[in-house]
Amino acid sequence: MNRDPNEMSSFDNTRRNRRHFGNVLLVATLVVFILLGIRFIYISVGKHVQHVSLSKQTQALYTEQQTIHAQRGTIYDADKNPIAMDTNTYTVYAVLNKRQVGANGKPLYVTNKAKAAQVLSKALHMDEKKIAQILNPENKNTFQVEFGAAGKNLSIATKKSIEAAHLNGVSFTTQSARLYPNGIFASHMIGYAQPTVLSGGATTLAGKMGLEQQLNKQLSGENGVKQVKHDSLGYTLPDSQQNKKPVKNGDNVYTTLNPDLQNLLENQMQILNDKLQPKNMVAMLLDTKTGKILAASQRPTFNATTMEGLDAQWTNLLVSDPYEPGSTMKGISLAASIDSGHFKGSDTYQSGRYRIGNAIVPDWNPAGWGVISYSKGFDLSSNVAMAHLEQQMGPTTWQKYIKNFGFLKSTNSGLPGEAHGTMQFAQPIEQANTAFGQGITVTPMQLMQAYTAIAGNGTMIKPYYLDKVVDPNTGKTVYRGKTETVGHAISAETAAKVRNHMTDYVYKSYGMGHDFKINGYKVAAKTGTAQVVGSNGQYMDGMDSTLNSVIGMVPAKNPRYLMYVTVNQPKQVPEKTITQWENDVFGPVMTEALAMNQATALRGKETSTKVPKLVGQSVDDANKTLTDMSLTPVVVGDGDKITAQLPAVGQKTLNNQRIFLRAGNNLTITDMKGWSMGDVLAYAKLTGLSLRTSGSGFATEQSIAPGKTIQPGNDITVKFK
């Protein structure tokens, strides 16, 4: 092909232009690739785009902080039975939305409403029609429904009974809760814990009263944090679990409360409470050798699982509500007088009335008993005698003793809200009043602590209820309760003398405490009847306006147990005197404690055995097992298999102790003659009998004759001597 020069140059021109274009394209391409590369480096190294930190965002995206909830510690009694423990409760709900279908097409909504209503009605004790109504709401778009209070706080057993029916669309949510298996058991002292919503929306159990509040931090433990990486669907990525903070379960708390004595005390107090309907009652049993509180309770009380009765009484009366103790203070006054060398028991004085300034100190019997000795005055609980003793010592000395006995200051029991008490001590009449327990307020804990000096050798021991606190994560004991001396109020000699006077108070023919005798033991006691200040600030009139109390120790020579009972403003019930009523609590509990002590002392610790599991065994096998272990089986019911037992599995028991077994439901009553009160109580618990007792010691008579058929809920009265 021939090309003219013109064409030729045009062709070259075009080629040159195209090459120029190619060079521009080269540069543009270079720029594109370099810019993309820079942008890549910028993001991958800088990890920030538009001021957003990519690394932080991804961290948040992939990782989920899962809280591992710490288990709240268990509170145990002295036999290691739980008093308070963690549990779950369940709330049932039903999904109605028909679009809720599982991965395999299985419906996740209620398909058979009639059956669901039937099953739920049975399990929740709720009307079937009402449930059917809830399952068929007017609003057809309702996603899911719940069943009100009846569908909440369900036990695992109820949940399982519903699950057994395999209902589609019926599910449960879980709530952590606190279970108090005994129901009423030193309730104000143990307190309670309730689910509390935290700031983050999670709930935790928080102690609100008593030990639960006092040791809330130790009981709570520390929640752990688990970090988990997951993909976009929430599946955990392999090897990505990481414990950022291990969970630390709460410490277990072992109290000094003896379950047998505590249960007996609760039972006896309930009977008395029902009968006399006092404003309130307090009782406490102390081991004077160690200071351990073995049993303590008050009325009104509450069931910590159901919270039933909590409204009636929030105050822990053991430490939080000081009151004028009345004549139980006289033991202290007598101790001060003896210890300071002023007491001459055989000296006499004019009883009845005694004028101090413009005021009169009256005896409870204003006519008096003529001129009597101070010793007799104490036994007759004479206020005038105490006023004289106080004046002989002088207010300075007396005040020193009040202080040394630990009044007017906290015992540092550790229980929340402990009060100090107050005193009016300016005028001679006020000073004299304090000597017989008026014009000074104390707490039961203070009074018990003061009396440990009299029960012992003059050394005051602090009452305690925390045996030990154990960290379950390490098994280490982080706290161990021990006998703590808090002062030497009086000499050992003085203590013995006071105990002699208190023994006279029970055993002298004219002594006021004759209702508190216990067979086989000498009892040292002092009662008190304090007038209660009414709302108008004046002492009220009448028997139902007094705080009645008794403090006693057994055996009088060398007391092992110290017990205090108060009954505040009881109704007058003419069957018995107030001291006889009081002994319905004091006598049985003290007797049981002494019996247990004797059993332990006689047989020694090495012969104690643990109760085996008998539930489910045949009656014959159970009988043989127990006989082989030198235990005494008591079987109620005509069934073939054991359905219940007391004491529970693992509890310690002594040789020849009775083990109560229930077989079936056709129950005939056993002859209880010679049984201790603890045995009778266990028997009543196992058979569901409502027990009433009178007297103390061992069973002599029972209101239902042996061999008669009984039903749970039947009343039975057992007399003890």
């Binding site: 232009n17 190619g22 060079n23 394209l25 690739f33 993309l36 890549f40």
Partner: protein, 382 residues
Amino acid sequence: MKKLKLVDYYVLIPYIVLSFIGIVMVYSASTNVAASTGTTAAAYLIKQSAYVVVGLVLAFIFFRMRLSILRNWRVVTFATGGILFLVLFVLVFGARVNGAKGWINLGPVNIQPEEFLKLYIVLFLAHYMDSHQFSIETHYWRTMRGALALLAVLVGCILIQPDTGGAAIDICIILIMALASGNKHNVPMEILTGLFVAYIGMLSILSHVDLTHSFFGKSYQIQRFVAFVDPFGTIKTVGRQLVNSYYAISNGGLFGVGLGNSIQKMGYLPEPNTDFILAVTSEELGAIAVLGILLLIGTLAFRAIRLGNRAETAYESLMCYGIATLLTVQTLFNVGGVVGALPITGVTLPFISYGGSSMLVLSMCMGLLLNVSAREKRARTA
């Protein structure tokens, strides 16, 4: 076999290496996709390997063939008719994937006409402009309008699929090649400068306009712009892809978390084995590896332009420019989307992303480059 000695290793080696990286990354990036679609990552591995093998065969054929065959009027007519049929067919019967009809389902294999259209545009324009180079010089617009009209129809079909990204690449190729006629001196520089200014202008306008709540806010295409401008503000919706791409790149850092260890591919990042395979690569192998991939693709584009510059004929020259543009623009659109420099347009990354049509077309392109290179070498040595 003489021709084999004339193989251009600046083309062959990047091509082979990139294809191999592609196979590895498709395998790695497909694990979660496979799990959710009921296949296995190995199935993706096998398919992609097969595409590479078939691609190598095609590359060899295009390397060995006489280029004049491609300019035979029968071939050109057949190709034009074929591509028109495919593009229209896909518009009517195409399988809808991610809201766009881009695929023709042929049992185990899906054909994506857009990929073939790109090659068609390159070859058709090169052929047309070479054939009409003298009249172009004198009557540029009158000469070009017929060809441009045909291409406009084809690209229009792509645009209404809608495949905005594919159409944009097509338009870029057409634009660059149309400008490469060589009849004016400074036009390309002006055009490129203009494009750059337009890009900066777009960025500054978009960052000051509240697109989300504007009248256009509902359009899907506009939403992509919203996501591009404010990905973190729209993290739950349209911004999700870009943000997760950022996360992947950030996770990987310079050296990566290790092959197979990407977290982002586990459902966070959409299309981990196609559109966002580079983000997964960056996470697993690090930004360094990504730079390596960009370097290899860049080498191919460079080599293509250099071959275009040296080419004797306008046809070869324009074809090389076209292929260079195809590689560069497609890479720019894909990587630009991944790093938030451009709106996400659903464009795959050459050689690396999973996909048969793309791999076959690119292999043919590589064959053509090797063919041109061999011719030039022979011409020089002759």
